[in-house]
Amino acid sequence: MRAVFSLAVVIILVLIAQVGAGSAGMRYLLGVIIPYIAMAVFLIGMVYRVIKWARSPVPFRIPVTCGQEKSLPWIKSSKLDNPHTTLGVIGRMALEILCFRSLFRNTKTELRKGPTLTYGSSKYLWLGALVFHWSFLIIFIRHFKYFTEPIPSFVLLAQNLDGFFQVGLPIVYITDILILVALTYLLFRRLLDAKLRYISLAGDYIPLFLIGGIAVTGVLMRYFTKTDIVAVKQLAIGLVTFSPVGADVLGQISSIFFIHIFLVSVLFIYFPFSKLVHLGGVFLSPTRNLANNNRMERHVNPWDYPVKVHTYEEWEDEFRDVMKAAGLPLDKE
C-alpha cells in the first residue's frame, strides 16, 4: 500500500508537469520559478537541519566500534575501526562516506527449516547502495555541463569516462544503466522481503520512485525523445546568472524536460525534510565522527547543572574548633 501510495504521488507529480508544460505561463513556473524556490528551500532547509542537530549536545564519546581500543602499547589497536586520534576519525569518516563501511558489515538473519536461526553476511545492500550513490554523483557532476560555460575539464572528463565504451548513439553512459539497475534492486529489495516490506514507510518508497522518475525521464530525453539541449542549457545558465530566459527559449524545450526539472525541484524541496538529509547527517554521526579517547581525556557532560558543593575541607574549616574540642582527628591542624 505504502509503495502504491508513493508511486501514485510521483505519477501525480509527472501529470502536473505534463499538463503544465502545455501553457507558456506554466512553463515559466516549472522551468524558472519552482527551481528557484526549490533551491532556496533546499539550502535553507539543509542549514536549518544541520544547526538543529548541532544544538543537541553529545555528552560522551559513544564508542560503538568494530575493533580493539587503544590501550596498552603491546596490544595492537584498530586505528580505523576504533580510532583515538583525529586522523583516525578522518579515515573512518572517509571510509564511511566514500565506501559505506557500515553497510559492508550488514548481516542477514533468517529462520530456516528445523527451525534454525542463521546469521550470514549480506553484501547486496552495500553493493546496491554503492552503485546507486556513485552513479548519482557522476550523473550530478555530468549535469554541470548545463550550468557552466565554458565547461570545466573535470566535467568533460567525467562525461568521457562515463561514455568510455562508445556503445550506441548517443553514446550510452554507464551510470545511466547502473543507476536504473541499482534503483530497481533497491525497490525490489523492499518489496519482495516480507520483513522489509513491513518496516518500509512511504518515506522509503517516495525517494526511490522520485529519483527513478528523474532517471527515467533523463534517459528518455537522451536516448529516445530528444529535446533541444541547447535551449535547456540556455535555461540553466539563465537560472545561475539570475537572468532567466523568456518564452522564446522555453518554447523550444519539449514537455518531458519540464517533467524532469519538476521532479528534480520536488526532490530538492523534499530533501531536507526526509531521510535524504543523510547527505548532511552522515557527517554528524556521533558513533562515527568521535575519537574513542574516553580513557585518555575527560569529556564533561555539557548539560551538567552547576551543583553547589561543600567539600570535606570546607566542612572541616567550618567545624574545626568543635571537632578539636571533641578530640576528633583532623586532616589539617
Partner: protein
C-alpha cells in the same frame, strides 16, 4: 550550538559547493546567449527539416554509416524526392565545410565530442 567552529565551516563548504555554478558562471562571464552555428550554404533545404536535423542529425549520420559500410547502400532520397550520396565528407560538408563555425559551435557549447573525426579527415582551415 556545540562544535560551532566545525559546523559552520562545514556548512560554508556545503553552501559554496551547492552554489558553485553561480560563482563559476559569474567569473567566466557566461550568458544565456546560445551558440550560433554559421550556415554559409545557398542551398534552401537540408536532407531533412531543421527541427529534425537539430535534434537527431547524429542518428541520421549513424544510420548512413551503417547502411553504407554494412549494406553498400549509398543513395539517400529525401521526402521531396531529391537524391544524395550518404556521405559526411561529400554531402554534409559540401554545404557546411566550416566545421569550426558550424559543427563545433554547438558541440563545444554542449561539451559533445563526436568521434566522426577519428575516421574522417578533419577539414583544414574551417570556413572556406
Amino acid at each position: 550550538m556545540y562544535d560551532s567552529g566545525k559546523i559552520i565551516s562545514g556548512l560554508i563548504i556545503f553552501l559554496i559547493i551547492a552554489t558553485a555554478p553561480i560563482w563559476y558562471t559569474a567569473a567566466s562571464g557566461g550568458t544565456t546567449k546560445g551558440p550560433e552555428p554559421e550556415i554559409i550554404t545557398t542551398e534552401k533545404q537540408c536532407v531533412r527539416d531543421t527541427d529534425y536535423m537539430r535534434h537527431d542529425h547524429m542518428e541520421l549520420l549513424n544510420e548512413w554509416r551503417d547502411q553504407v559500410v554494412r549494406g553498400d547502400d549509398r543513395v539517400y532520397t529525401t521526402a521531396s524526392g531529391r537524391k544524395f550520396e550518404k556521405s559526411l565528407s561529400n554531402t554534409c560538408m559540401s554545404c557546411h565545410p566550416n566545421k569550426s563555425e558550424f559543427c563545433d559551435r554547438c558541440h563545444n557549447y554542449m561539451g559533445v565530442d563526436p568521434y566522426c573525426w577519428s575516421c574522417h579527415i578533419e577539414p583544414k582551415g574551417g570556413s572556406r
